[in-house]
Every structure is written in structure tokens, then in C-alpha cells.
Assembly symmetry: D4
Homo-oligomer: 164 residues x 8
């Protein structure tokens, strides 16, 4: 099946974080493609991926990067598909640099920024599903089931904590 | 026409910022409803707006708030619709508080966070259009035209600056 | 005995921090109930806990959470009981996100914010005791004894350091 | 009537901020005394105010200060009454210094910290009322009325914004 | 004469800052071209400017931008010419966002980052002259004269202050 | 009379801040010399001032500077006299840059850092007096009188605030 | 011999940092006393130590503390002796809280603030020696010898690095 | 062969970071000299190195330092050669102090600042090569080859990630 989501990370060292995204997309049965492209070291590849995505049927692009994280912004500059950014805490500044570089986009070119690190990578998958649900009621159903499952898990944890 | 986008702001003092969103949605001819609801002062109203949105045909919710900006997160907790957050720089901490409160969502409940202030409010409208474009090729067209118009405007400004 | 203090944490991973609170309440012989509720994953449960607390005889609610820590604020929105917030340093931003999300409450809905992490969790218990002491002179006595004990401990440490 | 709340500010230049507190206490008909005492310039006076408060019938102390805001902490060191701290944005660091100096109290001596500036000053009054309500059902009533009034005001503003 | 320095700013609103650069280059008699190109709104133009610069005889590129300032990084990705970045304080975050976005480049693609705002814009011109001085002893001479002039100005100011 | 305190500021634009220092030294009748020297634009002059100070009878050096405020550190590198640093909020980063540049000295070369801006400039004068008081009991007396005067002024302000 | 320097730390857990101070004072043969006193847990002891120091012949007080580090400021409030503050990075905020709480003193009550952590603790000892050197030429000599020794050590390290 | 690049680090503890610079210069076959000089502990040596560099044929100086990193600025004050600064994260403030101290140079004396830590140290070497390439077409060639090699490496990593 053709990928609906394209996950791009700035470096293969970002893989442990971005696998949070791919695992959850798999759980939602959303076809995706995951690759590496650097806004700075392979700018042409990054632009090409961004420009061809729409024609290839991709509907959402998720970009994860650290430091001066330009990846999501550069991709957003070359597409009108929704781009989700995941700032990664891989530099000595602990992700504040990646957060500001990802979220503070100028008017005209939005990047939907998630939390720094693993939490953000998971949420990128869920947000992609929330975008893709329109015209796909099964996916809406899965999102609602997932939400209920989370609630149930919290309740179970609550019981354990209450027993202590 | 029924609103596809619901804009909620935490206080009417956020209106000058959030009008950046409504103006752009109007330009894109996307029907929207704009209102005020506080996560803290009218929590029930906020929850009600969030829970009823889907049934009313809303597809994207945009929430703008300052200080400990819980609004977008609280809404996202009560819906599986995509929620876009706009942090507003209305406290002495100049929007860093609103940014962290909006973007640092825990795994499970994403908020697509935009830049602090006016830039973010504009981008919220564009990002909503990017979500709504699927099954609406006219909107995709408008997004591409808008992107070209922005590019043209930069070129005109470039010429003026070059002449100096 | 009916709990006078309700301790809520956003996730069971916050337990090692929030046990600082429960241990101290136990030491003060203040009956408490400790549970887990997420402002985002179990919003209804959170609201229910907040709304029923007063009728159940709870007089103080203590909420500990990390990241975009909305828990204390959401609880405060649904009760007129005093709410104490403990920001937890569980995200890559090391608790600054939780601190700003907890303390920067808008006018009308206060959250009494404690220090980030363990220190704040201990102080939440003491502050709860300081609230509960009115009409309970024994508790005032305990607080004064506790204060003296702390002073004595510092003196003993001072002696050890002076001997070196 | 004897003051139940003692408002202390570090400098008379903090008065415009701290009047948010006194006005709201007046609205709640809570008797208060408001004065100036500097933790650094009049330490003895500060200590004396803190130590005598309990005997004089004060039940809550509210301390507002800017810069290295030690006032609330110094007061809390000398009393077992609940102390509420209001960080004020009066230095070039815009209140982050006052916030950290007020909230990061070591274990043993809590300061219930409110938001930076005017919002925090208002909330200090409400939080004081929330503490004082026990044994004073009229005050609980006023708090609930106040909460409803805030909600109503938001609704009115919502209507105005919706009409635009 | 063909430009040796290419000044690019992300928006014409950055002109008042970047004129600090052009004025100083003029003073050093270094031929330059100044234009506007946005990494996000005109990515192709930005890439084209970066890629053609070397062939056109440009030896240094100076890029000034605010918010998530990707401009200098995107240019550096497409050239092996030295790229100087000037972070501009045009967003509510007051230039910290632009600074982190400009300076925190990943290994492989350097951006020589100057101070935030006017000071950085002036220094970009001087640093460009320092690069261009090799094989141009007259420019080295000008740099030394400029340095002496600055020192003389400080001495004159010192005398005025000493007289007070 | 020979100056005991040497006040150096990095730029004459720092004069409004550093006059807080000179006025207070005058009030304490401590002879001083005030001048301008830039660690970057007149490094030789700065070093010369630092190295000759001791032989000329100077006992304390006060250095005020903004941005990457190296002035106090450079002076401290060239003398064993006590050096007091005043960080000035003259850049877009509002003094945090000057604070970190002044206070974070490596082991071996201390700079006694005061608060950012006017408060720090005043305190630099008082701290200089505290250093110079040894062998000068009159100065100790003045410091105690000054402290009492401050306390009295707070009391007067307290009365005014209490009357309201 | 009577102590000329009084070292106070807020907690015995600060000892590993503050031993940097005592070791260096020993090296300079400056008699000192080192003890523990908390501004918050033993305020009376802290005030007493501050008030009696002068009469006991102490000439410099060094205070090291973490979190909301009020210790140095509280001591400075009760003495006209010079007070040196060492901010300690013992909380989740990594010393920024202690730095702001120590350095941002209001006008009138200076605290000579050193760098965060070990570097600052060492420099506190050197700065104390710089204060105490007046009327003690032997100490001036030691400071100059120490400065030369540091320079020699750097030269030796330079040789090692150059050989690589 | 005479060194074209002079690498100076503030302490031998900075060597693991600055070896990233020397290794890359070796790879580019650019002759360099690497040594240690402290702006604070060996100011004369630092100034001498800066002043003699030009006459000895050095064309670029790279300075790496942590904490209040004055090294690059002090060197830049004494030369008109281009100076590249590498902020090092060796203090409890994790490199933000070194970044601000290096980048926020006042107008007149630029320091070309790289990213904090290892990334910045590598980029300093590349940026030096970008400066030295003029009149050295072989070096331009190497820079282009290096850029291609980086791109190739990213592609290989992309393939590995895609296979997963």
C-alpha cells in the first residue's frame, strides 16, 4: 500500500526517538515511509522528498530533528501538505534550540510542532491519524479506541497507586 | 454554511491576535466560528465546545491562549479532532510560558503548536486549510496560489531593497 | 478516617516524587487519598475528582505533574478548594515547562505552586498542614515541632561540618 | 475588625501590583492589613511582622517582591502560617528572577507561589480566601459566586466576539 | 564592480538592522549586493542565490533573519562559500529563537553567527572584510585604521566622562 | 585626594547606569576616578588601567558593561585587586548575556558580580565601601548610618501604604 | 587564631562544593570558620551568625546555597561586612535559580556573586583574600604568587597539548 | 609548513572538544598549531598569541572556551584576522553561558560563533577552510568533496533506516 505518511529524520541518530512515531502509525495501520534526509547535508534530497510527496499520495509529512532544527521548516517551504515537526534534544542545549527552530516559523509557512523528544514523536503519529481520519471513519474509530485505552491504563495505574 | 473550523480564545483580550486567524480563514473561504472560552474560568463550556465540535461538523479546532495556556490541551483531551494551539505573549514572561504550556503535551494527546503571537495565529489558519484540503481540491489550489502570492510579494520587496 | 487531602499525580511515573508528599502527610497524621488522574488522558476522571472532593470532606488538593502540567490548573478550575501544584522535572526541558504551566495561572483561578521536584512535593504536604491547622491546634503544634526538628538537624550537621 | 490577612510588599513601588490583592480581599470582605517591609533593608521588621502575625490573629500572609525576591521565603522561615508569594516583574530580567527566588524553596519551608505580576496578585487574594473559608461557609459561598461571575463575564465576552 | 558580498535578509522589515551591514561595507569600499529572500516563502530563490553566488564572484554571504531563522543555514547548505548569520530580534521571544536557529548548526555546515540585532549586523560587515583581506592588503590596512578609529573614539568618550 | 576606586565602563552609553555608582561613592566621600575603556575596542588601555591601578593607590575596581561583558573579567585577569562587575541590560537579550559573561568566571580569577542594571550599579558602590572600611572606621560608621537610613525610608513608605 | 572568614553553607550537602573554598583559604593561610546555617530552617542562627561576625573579628562572610538561595542575601541584610555568594547547582533547574536568587539583590544590600558551583566556590576564597590583603602585604604577595602559579600551570598544559 | 590556523583553547580540559577541529583541519591538509591559553589566567600569553599570529602567517584563529568564555573576544580585540569562537558546555549552565559570552560581541569586534560543543568544533575547521579557500582552488575542491561525502553518508544511513 502506498505510504500516506512520510517520516523524515535529520540523522540516523534520531531513529530511537522517531521509532515512537513509526510504531504508533503501524498500530493505527497507517502506511508510512521512513527515511533520513538532512536539511543541511542533503538539501536537494530534502527538497525533492518534500516536492514529490503530494504526487506520490503522501498526505502528512513528519520531520524530526535536533539542534538548529530546520528540517520541518525547509520541508514546509516546498509543499502545501501539512508538516508536523518533532524537536529532538540531541545538543547540549537539551532541545530548546530544536524547539525554537521548529516552532517559531514566520507567517505563511506553518509547522505543527509537537513536544520535545519521545512524547512529541508519539504525538506526531496520533496527530497524523487525526488529520487522515476524514473520509476514513475506521481511523476515527481507532483514535477513539486508543483514547479509551489510554484512559483505562491510567485507571489501572490509579488503582495500583491507591492500593499502596 | 456550517463552520469547519472552531476558533476558541482564552480571553477577549486575545482577539487582536486571533483575528489574524479568522481573516485568513475568510480569505480561504473556510467557514468558521470564533468564540471565547476559558479552560479555567469556563471549564464546562470549554469541554462542551470540544465534545460537541465533531458532531456539529467541525473538523479543526484552533485554540489561542496566554500565560499557563491550558486551553488547547484541555480541548485536545476531549476530542479526537486535530487541535492547533497558538501561544500568546500576554504575560510578563513574554510567551515562553504559553509556548511551553501548549507544546509540551504528554504522549497521547497532541496539540499542533504554532509560533508565539501573530505569526502563529496566521499559520494556524493556513495549517487548518492544509488539513481541510483533502477531498477539497479547490482548497489545495488556494493554498498553492497563496504560496505563490507570498513568493511574489517577497520578490517585489527584494526589488525595492535592491534599488536602494 | 475520611481523607482531608487528595493527592493526584498525572502519571504513575510521578510516584517517586509524590511519595515525598504522602510520607510527610502520614508523619503529620493527616488522612489523605493518593491516586492517578491525567488532565489529558482521563479528563473526566480528573474533573470528577475535583468536583466531588469538597462534598467528600477533602479540604486541600495536591496535584503533581510534568511537561505541560495542566493537572493542577484543570482541578482548580472545577473547585473552590485550595489547590497546590507540584511541577515535576520529567521532560527534556527539566521542569521549566512544568513550572511555567503550573504557576502562570490567569487571574481568577489560583494554583499554589511549590518548587520543582522532590523539594516541592515535601513542601506541598507541609503547606497542606498549614492550611488544615485552623481549628486543629494539635496540627499547629506538630508544625512547630517539625520546624524545631529541622532546625535541630541543621545544628547537628553544622557541628559535623565545623569539626572537619 | 482584626486583619486575617497580612499583605507585605518589598517596596512601595510594588503597590500598583499588590493593590490587586487588597481590592479583591475588600470585595471578599476579608479584613487585611497592608504594609511595606524589605527582607533586606528592614530584616528585623520583616521578622517581627512574621513572628507576631499568628498571635495577632493573622491566618494568611501574602508577600509580593521583585528581583531576588526573598521576602516570602524569609517570612515563611519565621512562621507556621501559610505564606503566599507574588513574584513581581520589576527588574531587567522581567520577573524570572523573582519567580525562581520565590518558588524554589528548599524542603521544609513552603511558599505558595502565584503567577508573576498582576495575575498573581489577584490570585493571592483568592487563594487566601480559599484557605480562610473553612469554618466560614459565607466565604465559601462568595468564592462560588465569584467563580460564577467570572464564568458569566467570559460568556458575555464570548457573545461579543461571536457577533463580530 | 562585481559584488564580493551578498547580503540577504528574510524580510524587508529586517532592512533597518541589515543597513548596518551595507553602510559599513560601503565604508570599506567592498562591493556588495543586498536583497530579500525568504528561506520559507521563496525557497527556490534562496537556493538559487546561494548556488549561483560563487560563479558570480561573490566570496562571502551574509544572511539576516528573525524567528526560526533558517535563512543562513539553508544558504550554507547550498554553497561552500563562508556564510555569516545575523539573528534578528523581531519576534516576541526577542531574538533568542533567531540566535539558536542560526548558531546551533549541525556538524558539516557552519554558519558564522554574529550578535543579535544591530551589533551583529555591523560585525557581519567587519568579519566579511576580515575574510576578504587576504590578497587585498589595502583592506587589511582599512581594518587596522578602523580599529584605531574605534579606539580613538573610546578615548574621546573617556575624556568626556572623566571631565564630569 | 587620590582615587581609591576606579570605575570603568565599556561605553559612554553605560554612563546613566554607572552614575548610580559614582553618586553613591561621592555620598560615602570615597575618592574615585571614572572613565571609559572597552575590553574589545581599547584592550591595551583596559589592561594598562588594570595593571597600574594598584601602584596608583586604587583598592577596588568597578567595571560595568553590557552584551558579551568581558570588561570585568579582563581587568581581573591583570590585577590582584578586588574587581566588582556590573552587568548592563543594553542588548536585545536584556542583560542575561552580560550577567552570564560577568559572573561565570573560571576558577582563579573572581569577579564580584552585582545585579543587572541600576540596582547593581548602586550596590557596587556599597560593596566597594564594605571592602574599603577596614582600617577606616569612619566608613564603617557611614555604612551603618546608610543602612539605618534605608530602613527608616522603608518605614516611612510603610506608613504611607498603611494609611491608604 | 581568630577566623577572618566565615563560610556558611545552607545544607551539609553543599559541603563538597564549599570545601573548594576552605581548601584555598587554608592554602592562603587565612583563618576561617566553616559551618552550616539555613536561611529558612535556622533563620535565627543565620541572623545571629551574621550579626556577631563583625564583633568576633570576621571580615568577610562567604555563603553558599542552592535553589531559592536566600542565604547570602539574608546575611547581607544583617551586617555591613562584605558578603560573597556562591550559587550551587543542586536543584532540577541546575543553578539558574540559585544564581538569580543570589545576584539580583535590590539596591542597598549587595552580595558579591561568584560563578555557579565549584568554580565559584574557589573564586570566593580568592576574592576573600583580595579583600583581606589591605594592611597585609604578605597576602598580596601570596595572591601574586598564586596568579603566577596558575599561569605556569597553563603553560605546562599548553606544552603538552602542543606536543600532541 | 607554517600553520595557517591557530587553535587556542582556554583549558586542556577542552581538548576532547577541540580535537574535533584539529582532526578535520588535518583531513583538509591545512597546517595548524594547537595550544592552550587562558584569557584570564595567562592574559599576556593570549594577547601575544593574538598579536603575533598575523606576522607568523596565521590567517584564521579558532578559540574554544567554556563558562564566561572571553577567549575568542579577547583575541579578536588584538588582531584583525578572522576569529572563530567555539562555546564549550563545561559549566553547570551547560554552555548557554559560553554561547552568550562568545556571540554577543559589541559592534566593532566580531567573533564568528559556532554551535556549542563538538558540532561547533567540527564546524570551526570547515569554516576556517571556507575562509582559506580563496587563492587555493584545491581547498575549494576539498570542501566540495567533503560536502558530497556528507551527502553520501546521509544517503547510506537513509537506506539503512528505510530497510527497517
Amino acid at each position: 500500500m502506498k505510504p500516506k505518511v512520510l517520516i523524515i529524520m535529520g540523522s540516523d541518530s534520531d531513529l530511537p526517538v522517531m521509532e515512537n512515531t513509526s510504531k504508533l502509525l503501524k498500530e493505527f495501520k497507517i502506511p508510512y515511509k521512513m527515511t533520513v534526509a538532512s536539511a543541511h547535508r542533503t538539501p536537494d534530497r530534502t527538497v525533492k522528498l518534500a516536492m514529490e510527496a503530494e504526487a506520490e499520495g503522501v498526505q502528512v509529512i513528519i520531520a524530526g530533528a535536533g539542534s538548529a532544527a530546520h528540517l520541518a521548516g525547509v520541508i514546509a517551504a516546498h509543499t502545501t501538505l501539512p508538516v508536523i515537526g518533532v524537536p529532538i534534544d540531541s545538543s547540549p542545549l537539551k532541545g530548546v534550540d530544536a524547539l525554537y527552530s521548529t516552532v517559531q516559523m514566520p507567517p505563511g509557512i506553518p509547522v505543527a510542532t509537537m513536544a520535545v523528544g519521545n512524547a512529541g514523536a508519539k504525538n506526531a503519529a496520533i496527530f497524523a491519524a487525526q488529520i487522515l481520519q476524514f473520509g476514513n471513519p475506521a481511523l476515527t474509530g481507532k483514535l477513539k479506541v486508543y483514547k479509551k485505552k489510554m484512559a483505562r491504563e491510567v485507571l489501572e495505574k490509579a488503582k495500583k497507586v491507591e492500593k499502596k
